[in-house]
Symmetry: C2
Subunit: 274 residues, 2 copies
């Protein structure tokens, strides 16, 4: 049996009782490391916070692992119970759907333990979840590469009066250019896009496109460390949020569409300079 | 302090460790009863499954409670720790946002413990969450009242190639017409819309509108008891799903938009008569 277990968003105690009991049954426990594990007390030194709570050693499954060694994990799951832990909900990322497809094709039993993800926890800002349009991702721009397919999607959502959740780029365990050339494994330091960088990029694209999909006066909500004890939520026009220090990752933004009175009442609690 | 704690979707063990610890600190525990609590082992006889796990008595907060007595709960939360338990995630329903607004206006501390909700757990069918458009609700039709605002929303989502999550009507503790007239409290038996009824209503609206937003050959995914041990997921054209017995509530439907290869691979596992 392969258990794919969501850890939720905040810290090690956001796992469900069901997830914890599943881990207890497993002979091997892996944890995905494509996204930020900072709040789970995981660093290069080890996985101690989680391991202490779960009472088991945990193997870090980074990008390399998924590309080269996940078949081994699936073989183990054919003969014993294996847990694969995932930040948020198991179906927040395409990678995990791919893992489920491969496991099912091998005839393995797969059991999913759900948890909160950014896709529903973003509801904390008061904007109703059923009034969101398509979700967009904002990738880090470089001098020569500025992919802006999010622009048209935001435009369509706004024409329909819908809110847009913008997920911000995470670059973890990216091989350095040098290492790609030399075949030697070296990684760039991890990078997490801030709300400030995202807004700068959004406004850069608006300026070059000029179709008024949004602008510096468009109301947005910036959310940092969603679901953590120290989460920070601020609502205001884009230009105002540019000046806010949201602190450590992860960050995301909601571009606000048309609002109902209850949504406005809730946003007011998060507005600066009332 | 008012804790608003998500219970997740499946059963009493879907609560998080953080949620369970918060309940332990609370002097009073309420549970909302607007949605289905069936899978949590809750019936008219009591709340025994949950109460056993949590080790505390729980007060059922039905519609009447929220309309007439929730101010009392907020007063209690001013001087002690009170937990309000919610199926799914605290921000899945507008009602809970309203409760947060009222609590914050009274100057109360509010702490939210997130959990899975249908809005993210629906990812289990393999359709990627970031490719959903606006969510719609399908209300029970009567002879004289057939509100169909969902039709235009589905149409817009489909034009954009997006998936549509359809939430199906739940009618719990609805006063009978007789009781409204006589001022005596009597309730209709609870009703939960099935996937079959929803598809019949969807096709009825398509037939009267005739704008080809979708049709009986449109691929949908029916999901029953999402997140439970006995959840049932079936993918197929609307007319085929009409004949499927999905069993007890809750049910929901996804109307499938344009699909990527990985989404198709995943849907195949849920397809009848392959």
């Amino acid at each position: 049996m392969l258990y794919i277990i969501g850890l939720g968003l905040g810290d090690e105690k956001d796992i469900t009782v069901k997830g914890l009991e599943a881990i207890e049954r497993c002979s091997k426990v892996y944890i995905e490391a494509y996204t930020s594990l900072l709040s789970f007390g995981i660093s290069d030194d080890g996985l101690s916070t989680l391991e202490n709570l779960y009472g088991k050693p945990i193997t870090l499954a980074d990008r390399e692992f998924v590309e080269e060694k996940s078949d081994d994990m699936l073989s183990e799951a054919a003969s014993s119970d294996v847990a694969f832990l995932v930040v948020g909900d198991p179906f927040g990322a395409t990678t995990h759907t791919d893992l489920v497809v491969r496991a099912k094709k091998l005839g393995l039993d797969v059991k999913v333990v759900h948890n909160a993800s950014v896709m529903n926890a973003v509801g904390v800002c008061g904007l109703q979840l059923y009034r969101y349009g398509e979700t967009v991702s904002i990738p880090f721009f470089t001098e020569t590469w500025k992919p802006d397919s999010f622009y048209q999607k935001i435009q369509k959502n706004r024409k329909l009066g819908l809110h847009t959740l913008c997920l911000l780029d995470i670059r973890v365990k990216e091989p350095t250019l040098e290492s790609l050339c030399r075949g030697k494994k070296q990684y760039e330091p991890p990078r997490y896009m801030t709300i400030g960088t995202a807004i700068e990029q959004l406004l850069e694209v608006e300026q070059s496109r000029g179709e008024h999909a949004y602008g510096e006066d468009t109301t947005c909500v910036g959310l940092a460390r969603l679901g953590s004890e120290d989460q920070k939520v601020v609502s205001g026009p884009m230009k105002q949020l540019l000046a806010v220090d949201f602190g450590p990752p992860l960050h995301c933004i909601v571009i606000v569409g048309n609002t109902h009175p209850l949504e406005e009442e809730m946003l007011e609690f998060y507005t600066l300079n009332k």
